[in-house]
Symmetry: C2
Subunit: 377 residues, 2 copies
């Protein structure tokens, strides 16, 4: 329950990002209200103030926003028209719909960034197999095809090795708008968080390496094992992108570092991000706390690392067994910080993450992976 | 809501210790149920599962304990007979009533510790002014008089400068059982936390200095500015006391360091403690997380400091204004971690605390105090 000067921050979406944001809201005495799709959503299991409603129902969004001083997001899967309607109603949305569009619409993002000279892979919207084949002829195979809207965690992304696969995909996916994108020879994948206030004040987190398998982020290592110049370039690009999209709250920028050492923007998220969970224990101020501080326009906290290295391993269920049953064993691994999301286990589902700090990234990562493997079943 | 393997941990009391324990319970996926005296208690404002009931009502305690796998405590102000009744009902209480007695009954604690040769100030139960006067003649004035049960934060403690004050107090306090205690010439006050599992596994936190004014802890500095031998002696005593009282969860031991460099046990708490709030950001594992890990019998986390120094300043309201209104200003102080407890402001009331980390204790303390002073009004 809110009182006195306590701001009511609404978060649309009740997943683990909302759950961890809720934790961060408690010491700040911000009243975080959750709009969860289901009463057993990750954040809904723990938060005091939960509304159950559909993020694609304007009626539910309107009812929810009425009780909030500012509205923010656990995910970007809200209709842009609904966001605009909330703004027209007079609600304060942070980030604003115009910022979120950069994360929601990959074609729009690529087109804007190209126009501004920001480094992005070559891309084009395709609507027929011929377009895809032509793109492949120009840029070479493989070609990456992505849904323009709504993909995540490897869903809605296809790597087409040869022309015949292109024809197959376009045949199967006629109803989706697709973006064809140049396949990048990746040396590493990097990510960086920026927290930005409405007036433009921003802090930039350390650049991290993300280790993806099948499009799903499995591991994060901070700082990324890259040259200082690369880290500085990534930080500079992320800062510039934050201003370009007029981010408010956390902006996550994912980069490819290609085999020639060039940075290319891969994905954006205008909210706390899986690549930043290491910041809970690894940084002076977590991404969740800085997201909240930014959306209520408070001074931002220092994002510096508190240890030489921090590593996070995601807990991706391998069985349907409850990871809570394996906590005693997992916590036997020295110096691990376990975060379970309170989600029912299903093979492949992300149920939590483990962070470890250390003097050496390899040692921290080894411990985090060991505990995560125990929890995964 | 609990699910699958999630343990239901009940906490009796809904104050700020329960609020911070609740935060720590979320990543561990422990379902922390709060028995709050009032629906607007600090922890009740944020926790998903709150029962409202009186901690001195056996009926309320029984109804609450039924829904818990293990019961623990935000305070020790529960009737020992009620605790025994819950154990007789088959409930698992951690710490056990026998451990809590050391914190609840100062006479019992002093008598046991004296018998074991643990260093405590000389003391005696007094029931008449003559007894107090006699104690003063033997040990010199001033004499400290304490209620045997129920005192906290300077309440229930009197420093009697001379015989006439003793007569006055005993006249006014005839219904209370009093403990007369030798007044110690204090160089510093120190505190140390031990987290201990049911089987005896324990970890010892760094020794800290607590700065008290009018019996209320205002500041904490970790590590305490004492010689290594003193710190080691305090750690050894705390570890021995944890075994003596068969602590389960956090045990806080407060020491006097007297002008001759001797350590004397002052107070005990068998729960998370105000002197340990620095551990949330200052240690690899916070006192709240280790309390929970101990009471569900999971391996304990490393209590080592993550920085050279950590300091905490309590926010003691000087006005009735809501500190949430002053967050923007307070967070302008660099590198401060603010924790507000969501309590209505009243002059003198403890509304929160601020922790800062640093290379130098003085610098960390200065920043923590600056932000706390802003929040205090």
């Amino acid at each position: 329950m809110a009182h006195g000067g306590t701001a009511r921050v609404g978060m649309i979406g009740g997943g683990q990002l909302a759950r961890m944001t809720f934790q961060a809201a408690i010491p700040l005495d911000l009243s975080l209200q959750i709009l969860a799709a289901r009463p057993d959503d990750s954040a809904a299991r723990v938060a005091a103030t939960v509304s159950v409603g559909a993020p694609d129902s304007l009626e539910d969004l309107r009812a929810f926003a009425k009780g909030c001083d500012v509205v923010t997001f656990d995910h970007e899967l809200v209709e842009p028209a609904h966001l605009e309607a909330l703004v027209a109603d007079g609600h304060c949305l942070r980030p604003a719909p115009a910022s979120m569009r950069f994360a929601q619409d990959k074609h729009y993002q690529r087109a804007c960034f190209e126009a501004l000279g920001l480094p992005v892979p070559a891309s084009r919207v395709v609507s027929a197999a011929d377009d895809l084949l032509k793109f492949g002829e120009e840029h070479g195979w493989p070609v990456v095809a992505k849904v323009v809207r709504g993909g995540y965690d490897g869903r809605g992304v296809w790597i087409l090795e040869a022309p015949e696969e292109a024809a197959e995909l376009v045949g199967a996916a006629t109803k989706m708008e697709l973006l064809a994108e140049q396949w990048v020879r990746i040396r590493r994948e990097l990510a960086i968080l920026v927290a930005r206030r409405p007036g433009g004040e921003a802090v930039v987190y350390p650049v991290v390496e993300t280790v993806q398998r099948d499009g799903i982020c499995h591991e994060i290592v901070a700082p990324a094992p890259v040259e200082d110049a690369t880290a500085a370039a990534a930080a500079g690009l992320a800062r510039r992108i934050a201003d370009t999209v007029e981010a408010c709250g956390i902006l996550a920028v994912e980069f490819f570092l290609d085999e020639d050492g060039r940075l290319l923007v891969n994905e954006l998220a205008t909210r706390p991000h899986n690549s930043g969970h290491y910041s809970i224990e690894g940084c002076l101020t977590s991404q969740f706390q800085n997201h909240l501080r930014a959306v209520v326009d408070w001074p931002l906290g220092d994002p510096a690392l508190v240890a030489a290295a921090a590593a996070t391993a995601n807990v991706l269920a391998t069985t349907a067994g409850d990871p809570a049953m394996r906590m005693r064993e997992a916590l036997g691994v020295p110096g691990v910080h376990v975060h379970l999301y309170g989600k029912e286990a299903r093979p492949g589902r992300k149920l939590g993450h483990v962070t470890a700090l250390g003097d050496e990234p390899d040692d921290a990562l080894e411990r985090a992976k060991r505990a995560a493997a125990i929890l995964a079943g």
